[in-house]
């Protein structure tokens, strides 16, 4: 059974390699091959899942050791995998959503001449993501971690001819690299502390290390997680990443890759549990991002960027939950899974809308699309209800649990966290309703595009709608299924542990409060966008609105704080290198040249002056000899 793990990762990687190396010959079958291999992965995942279910809940762990990777003295890195319920959960999410999105992309990318490459990159992503969640040590995880970064880079910049896409891709990679430094340093710290960086020995011995070290490791892991999961302060890339094709946004920047940070923190739970300061920081980051993303999501007119803000915000929930420790891990993951379904559904819906609207992304130019795209409307609508936490749909269960866990933190902190999350829930309802209203309701507002083509909204082909439908089912039912008999909790408990906090607010009360704020948010949105026609051009808005449209000035800040000084520094150094470092060298050469030119003039051509030099030399020689004797 273990050997299937390697196969699971290998299938999509093989696909990527074949498609990239194979070249144009594979243009006609590439997408099918890639989808098939994704499906193979999914089937293998299911087989492994059934196998795990067959085991006792404590024995649900599979190991596979492929080969020794880097052996240098004490530094022993292996290519080895670990499949336990936590990674299994991810594997199932990744392969299922991944396969669906492969399927969807067949239709979505039908007219793109570089479709084969697109599928190769998708397969590459799948392989790397699986490697990330299946690795049994941090170094191998790092490989997957950067691998998904690479795939994300390639896919965001897939339409490279657009400078904005290329810039966004670069930005994503570099911001992630900043996070990766965190992961690097964390691994370095682990190695110097534990002499290893494999999960088991590190996590089992974590309590033996000093708290300062663990806090350091934790903070560095958090930095990594911030980069990958677009958490404040490394959140700036996610909005721009929407330049990529929509299936990519659905798969990578909503359902799977961006949640890797949550995986990392959950996986390293033992470290965080022993480092409360680091946990606090995780919680703070989660809370800040939760609000940050929500506010940005409220202001964006670009449908995908609005959804991206939402993604950030939802991951903020997960982060916050993961920061709470064993109270929250399970629910962080649960929200992660449900979010994977409904957010993928939302993005696919958005993609479907764009597909029918000549790739228009400005929601102010949609309106009334429900009549033109009934399936899209229905599936999008269901996912919408799931995310705003409509009772008994997926989001309701997972989000309520997190809010409850926040209250359970106890004391002032509990109240603050709970309050923030309720506020976030209201905002979620607000911005999602706004999207819904702007897109599917109201009057049609579309106009001819630059080339004069009037869009003719139409429903998307079957390859696109089927995945949407399936995801809609997931959005509706997953939460309920997980909550049934606490299925999910029992499944993950052996890995993450579970604690029941002591909440000052009853579980039911939280549910009611959440529903109430949800209704409030919906109402607010309707008040603003449902009652009256929406202007096709955005009003100027107040300062907060304008700031939110500019992603709360994050780019301006980064630009002022890093980019511009960096540019000056670089330019200054180039100047210095030329003038100073090289200048010293050239100056030395010039000095010799100058000395040469001057000394050369002594040779003036007059024999008598030569004789003077000789005479002087003789005198010197004699004098020096005598002087030597005198001394």
């Amino acid at each position: 059974m273990e050997s299937l793990i390697g196969l699971l990762i290998g299938a999509p990687l093989l696909g990527a390699a074949v498609l990239l190396v194979g070249g144009r010959r594979l243009d006609r079958v590439g997408h099918l091959l890639a989808t098939l291999l994704a499906a193979v992965s999914f089937v293998l995942a299911v087989v492994l899942f059934l196998d795990l279910l067959g085991e006792e809940s404590e024995a649900r762990t599979l190991h596979q050791h492929l080969f020794t990777w880097v052996p240098v003295a004490d530094f022993q890195a292996d290519v080895a995998f670990r499949l336990d319920p936590l990674s299994m959960t991810f594997v199932l999410l990744i392969t299922s959503v991944g396969t669906l999105i492969h399927l969807y992309s067949i239709g979505y990318m039908e007219h793109d001449e570089r479709r084969r490459r697109f599928f190769a990159y998708l397969n590459l992503f799948l392989g790397a993501m699986l490697l990330l969640v299946l690795a049994d040590n941090y170094l191998l995880l790092y490989v997957g971690w950067e691998g998904v970064g690479l795939a994300s880079f390639l896919l965001i910049g897939f339409w490279q001819h657009k400078p904005s896409a290329a810039t966004a891709a670069k930005k994503a990679f570099i911001v992630n690299r900043v996070g990766d430094v965190g992961l690097s340093i964390a691994i370095l710290l682990m190695f110097t502390t534990f002499g290893t960086f494999a999960f088991e020995p590190v996590l089992e011995n974590a309590s033996g290390a000093s708290e300062a070290t663990l806090t350091g490791i934790g903070l560095m892991l958090l930095l990594a997680a911030c980069g990958k999961s677009a958490q404040v302060p490394l959140q700036s890339w996610l909005g721009d990443a929407m330049e990529g094709p929509t299936p990519v946004s659905a798969l990578i920047h909503a359902a799977t890759m961006v949640t890797a940070g949550v995986y990392l923190i959950t996986r390293s739970g033992a470290v965080f549990d022993a480092a409360p300061d680091a946990q606090t920081v995780v919680v703070v980051v989660g809370a800040v991002t939760l609000l940050f993303g929500a506010i940005v999501g409220c202001a964006k007119d670009d449908i995908k960027k609005a959804l991206a803000g939402s993604t950030m915000s939802q991951i903020g929930y997960m982060m916050l939950a993961a920061g709470l420790g064993p109270i929250g891990y399970v629910f962080a993951i649960m929200h992660l899974v449900t979010h994977g379904f409904f957010k993928a559904g939302l993005f696919l819906g958005a993609g479907s809308v764009m597909h029918g609207m000549n790739d228009e992304v400005d929601m102010r130019r949609y309106g009334g699309l429900r009549k033109h795209m009934p399936i899209t409307f229905a599936t999008f609508g269901l996912a919408y209800l799931a995310i705003i936490g409509f009772p008994y749909l997926s989001g309701f269960f997972s989000k309520d649990e997190i809010i409850y866990a926040g209250f359970s933190k106890g004391g002032t902190e509990g109240w603050i966290l709970g309050g923030v999350m309720l506020l976030g829930a209201a905002l979620t309802a607000y911005y999602m309703t706004r999207i819904m209203l702007l897109t599917f309701f109201g009057e049609k507002r579309w106009q001819p595009d630059a080339s004069g083509h009037e869009p003719h909204p139409h429903e998307s082909p079957l390859t696109m709608t089927i995945p949407m439908i399936i995801l809609a089912f997931g959005s509706v039912g997953a939460g309920f299924f997980f909550d049934l008999n606490e299925n999910f909790v029992h499944w993950l408990e052996p890995v993450t542990g579970l604690e029941h906090g002591d909440s000052p607010v009853a579980h039911g009360t939280v549910g009611i409060a959440a529903t109430a704020v949800m209704v409030l948010g919906v109402a607010g949105a309707w008040w603003q966008y449902g009652r009256r026609p929406v202007p096709a051009v955005a009003p100027q808005g107040r300062f907060l609105t304008r700031a939110a449209r500019r992603d709360l000035l994050q780019d301006d800040f980064n630009h002022a704080a890093f980019v511009r000084p960096g540019n000056y520094l670089t330019r200054g150094l180039v100047y210095l290198d030329h003038k100073l470092v090289d200048g010293v060298v050239n100056g030395t050469a010039a000095a010799f040249g100058g000395a040469s030119g001057r000394l050369r003039r002594v040779q003036n051509g007059f024999a008598r002056s030569y004789a003077v030099s000789m005479f002087g030399g003789a005198v010197l020689l004699v004098a020096a000899t005598l002087l030597m004797r005198a001394v």
């Binding site: 040249g593 002594v602 040779q603 024999a607 030569y610 004789a611 003789a618």
Partner: protein
């Protein structure tokens, strides 16, 4: 022995055969000039010169293999000449250089034939006024100056004596015998005769000035020791005047006389090797003299003069080591630095090589300063290596010509590597050897000298030497850049295909440069066997 009875001098004919052969040949050469018809003089002189030098070299080899360089080293000629390792080694080098020099002198394919007669690089009628009717007539008649060959042989003879000189008298005579012919040779260029004559004038006046110093130094040393014999002076210096009349001990041993005299003699020799600050004649003379003469002079004079200097310092003045060592340090450093630095901005190939020779004099002095047997043999090796590189380089210079004769201005060498890659490559090899790049003879020599200096504790000298080498590398490299990386100019010079004579010179020099760089062991052995001076 009755007083008043004349004691016949004992002359070791065999041991002195190399120089005797050369002098004999020189005299025959003069006779040929006097009596043989003009048409056969050239052939006769060249054959005579070559034969004489080859047989003299053979004599040197025989002497060396008989052990005269090592166990059988002796003082000959009534104590005035030394036949020992350094002398024989340097004689061998000088003879080879001289032989090759004959080839260069005899080259007649470079100059365009004057009215049907092949001519060499020397003036048709040296006494004639440049550009005057007499000269035109001489050129028209196809006259050549075959007197150069006996002059050359006399100079070589003097050079053979110079490192052998074991008393001050021979030192002075040898100096003059080698110098006087060279003064004349410098004046004999066929082209640019004004420059040639100017070179001769400067060389002559300064040379005479320097030899006056040397002579006065000799007088003082004689005054100090009461003898002109090296060993006698050395005995006095080391405080053992047993062989001298004890009654006169009071007038002897005046240290001021010793120090001043020693310094002045040293100065005279330093002039010949072209060390700073007695170097100023070098660039002018090297530039003005006919290039074959420059090549010969640069190589052979330096060898001979360093031989004499070594013997003087090692045999006569070792007791004064602490006095002259720091002074020579200074001279060595000044030569290395000044030679290398001034060369950077030179624009004439021959002047460039002149400054380079000044810098090399400094490097060799570093080995001289070591005052060890290793030091001697390293200097011997360096001299052998250096002389061939120099000769080869000047031989190449004779080949690069345009309408006005040799194109010595560096700008004209631009792109030579494109036109004649092989020649340029050979010249580059010589330049790299000058620069001391490994796998060339220059490196082996430099390493030997520096190691000897360091061994003797002169690490400071080594460091300065190393830095000066770096500066020197700059201008060698500049020439290479010019030859290979610049576009050839339309009116640039062309490379003349020479006769086998010059060709063999270049080939031999290149071969020696490579062999001494890659497999120098045999020659190092020779040099180190030859490292002992006889007293």
């Amino acid at each position: 022995m009755n007083p008043g009875e004349l004691q016949a001098p004992v002359i070791e004919w065999a041991a002195l055969s190399p120089s005797l052969i050369v002098f004999g040949a020189a005299i025959i050469g003069v006779l040929i000039e006097a009596f043989a018809p003009r048409s056969v003089r050239y052939t006769a002189e060249v054959v005579l010169g070559a034969l004489a030098l080859v047989s003299a070299f053979a004599a040197v080899v025989v002497l060396a293999s008989d052990g005269h360089a090592t166990s059988e080293a002796q003082v000959a000629g009534m104590g005035s000449l030394a036949v020992d390792g350094p002398a024989l080694f340097l004689q061998g080098v000088i003879l080879l250089v001289g032989l090759v020099g004959v080839f260069l002198f005899a080259e007649r394919r470079l100059e365009p034939a004057a009215h049907g007669a092949a001519v060499d690089s020397f003036a048709a009628q040296p006494a004639a006024v440049p550009g005057g009717p007499a000269e035109r007539e001489a050129v028209k008649a196809g006259h050549t100056t075959t007197e150069i060959f006996p002059l050359l042989l006399f100079a070589i003879g003097g050079m053979l004596l110079f490192p052998m000189a074991n008393d001050l008298l021979v030192l002075f005579i040898a100096l003059e015998v080698l110098s006087l012919p060279l003064y004349l040779l410098c004046a004999l260029a066929r082209r640019r005769r004004l420059l040639s004559q100017e070179a001769a004038l400067k060389y002559f006046l300064l040379g005479a000035f320097a030899s006056a110093f040397l002579l006065f130094g000799i007088a003082m040393l004689y005054g100090y020791a009461g003898t002109v014999s090296y060993s006698g002076i050395a005995d006095v210096v080391s405080g053992d005047p047993a062989s001298v009349n004890p009654g006169l001990a009071a007038t002897m041993g005046n240290d001021a006389l010793l120090l001043i005299g020693g310094a002045m003699i040293t100065m005279g020799l330093l002039f010949k090797v072209g060390a700073v600050p007695f170097h100023m004649w070098t660039p002018d003379v090297y530039q003005g003299a006919p290039t074959p003469v420059t090549g010969f002079m640069a190589a052979a004079t330096k060898v001979a003069a360093f031989g004499a200097l070594l013997r003087l310092l090692y045999v006569v003045l070792p007791g004064l080591r602490w006095d002259w060592e720091p002074v020579l340090w200074g001279v060595a450093i000044a030569s290395m630095v000044a030679g290398a630095v001034i060369a950077i901005t030179q624009t004439d190939v021959k002047r460039l090589l002149a400054y380079s020779s000044i810098a090399h004099a400094g490097f060799i002095l570093a080995g001289v300063v070591a005052v060890t047997e290793d030091g001697v043999s390293s200097v011997l090796f360096y001299l052998a290596a250096y002389s061939f590189v120099t000769l080869g380089a000047f031989a190449v210079v004779t080949l690069v010509r345009d309408a006005g004769g040799e194109a010595t201005h560096l700008s004209k060498w631009a792109g030579l590597g494109r036109r004649s890659p092989l020649l340029a490559a050979v010249f580059a090899l010589f330049l790299l050897a000058f620069a001391g790049i490994p796998l060339t003879s220059g490196f082996s020599g430099k390493f030997a000298v520096f190691r000897a200096a360091a061994d003797a504790g002169a690490m400071g000298l080594v460091i300065v030497g190393v830095l000066a080498s770096a500066v020197a590398a700059f201008f060698y490299v500049r020439v290479i850049v010019l030859m290979f990386f610049s576009e050839p100019k339309a009116d640039g010079p062309s490379v003349v295909i020479p006769s086998p004579l010059t060709m063999s010179v270049v080939a031999l020099a290149a071969a020696v440069t490579v062999v001494l760089g890659v497999a120098p062991q045999f020659f190092l052995d020779l040099a180190s066997d030859a490292g002992m001076f006889v007293r």
